[in-house]
């Protein structure tokens, strides 16, 4: 499938790299041209040599989303560092470009919950951390090394 990832920080770049390794076609959009370094890190060949696409541009600009291939995306990941940006572009991907699978990172648990009720697939790292930490405090689970 063709995966478009908007926001190439730790999260976005890690998803992009794994999807590429699984054999998917991956396009990444970020407003910072330097962000591509995260995709090259730990690899001998650059992201583009490995077949990846990288577009520098602002997520809210339709032209940038089109250049990154949103009109043929099967999956869309909104993983910029801003909840507001993520929530707007995820809805643009879903409603305007009718991308079949849209996932969006939302740090604020309350908004993650409400938008999930409206039909968006929200992932809330804050809520996940709260639940895991609470379970660990109660002794219900025990982590060896890094959890998750």
């Amino acid at each position: 499938m063709f995966v478009l990832i908007v926001g190439c920080g730790r999260v976005g770049s890690a998803i992009a790299t794994s999807m590429m390794e699984e054999g998917h076609e991956v396009s990444v959009l970020d407003e910072d041209a330097e962000a591509i370094a995260l995709l090259d890190r730990g690899h001998e060949n650059s992201w583009e040599e490995r077949g990846g696409q990288f577009t520098e541009g602002t997520a809210l600009e339709i032209d940038a989303l089109l250049a990154a291939g949103i009109d043929r995306a099967d999956a869309f990941v909104a993983s910029t560092d801003g909840d507001n940006t993520n929530l707007v572009i995820a809805q643009v991907a879903k409603r305007r470009f009718e991308v079949e699978r849209v996932v969006v990172r939302v740090l604020d648990p309350a908004r993650a919950r409400w938008y999930a009720e409206q039909g968006l697939q929200t992932v809330c790292p804050t809520q996940t951390a709260i639940e895991l930490l609470e379970a660990a405090v109660r002794g219900q689970i025990r982590f060896e090394g890094v959890a998750g």
Binding site: L60, E61, I62, G82, D83, N84, T85, L87, V88, Q91, V92, R95, R96, D108, A110, R111, W114, Q118
Partner: protein, 222 residues
């Protein structure tokens, strides 16, 4: 009427003041601590500190009983989402949002946020709907930039009629930015000739308005 305003910038603050003067109940939410401190000195308990994008902040402002929510932060994504939750989650009957960048208007429309107001859009609407009765309409004042934009109607006897823009003798600090003619408009060059019946938009430095208007006003009428 109870009004929640998100964003205490120039627009939000002035709007809050006007509405309070008209005896409405107002809460204005501001996310910047410094700005909040300034605004709170005047508006006191009507000012509230917090990020209006966060649901708990909106809830603490009493959004559920608001008759009107106005989202006028400098952040378009914030404005569109605040409007969306105001209407869809909290059932607010009237929502007005500011769109800072007209290119983002399409996102407001996509998410059903109406009316979204952009300054550009507003000027266009004034041009389309408010036929100037006095030959001159003050469209926009930009006091910080020390500029204003005025609209002038070119009457039959106007000394400007039949002249090219470059021959008008416009004072320094003024510029014709568009000519509206027969329902359309265009950005003129120095060679564009002004015709009777035109409406001309001029941007100018504060204080030279009379020197500009006299170039367009028929002497007999003056």
């Amino acid at each position: 009427m109870y009004v929640v305003i998100v964003g205490a910038g120039k627009v939000g603050w002035n709007l809050a003041r006007e509405l309070i003067n008209k005896r409405h109940e107002v809460t204005v939410i501001e996310a910047d601590a410094h700005r909040y401190a300034v605004v709170e000195q005047e508006l006191e308990h009507s000012a509230m500190y917090g990020d209006g994008s966060e649901l708990w902040v909106l809830e603490r402002s009493g959004i559920e009983r608001a008759d009107l929510v106005v989202a006028v932060t400098g952040d378009d994504e914030g404005n569109v989402l605040i409007s969306q939750v105001a209407r869809e989650k909290y059932g607010v009957a009237r929502v007005v949002a500011r769109c800072n960048n007209p290119r983002n208007l399409q996102h407001f429309e996509l998410l059903g946020v109406r009316p979204a107001i952009s300054a550009t859009d507003l000027i266009l609407r004034l041009i389309e709907h408010e036929v100037p009765k006095y030959g001159l309409v003050h469209l926009l004042d930009l006091p910080e930039e020390r500029l204003e934009i005025i609209e002038l109607e070119v009457g039959d006897g106007s000394p400007a009629a039949g002249r090219a823009v470059k021959d008008l003798g416009l004072p320094d600090g003024s510029l014709v930015i568009s000519i509206l003619r027969e329902g359309g408009g265009f950005v003129p060059t120095g060679d564009s000739v002004i015709e009777p019946g035109d409406e001309v938009l001029v941007v100018l430095d504060v204080g030279i308005e009379s020197r500009v208007t006299e170039l367009f006003t028929a002497r007999t009428a003056a």
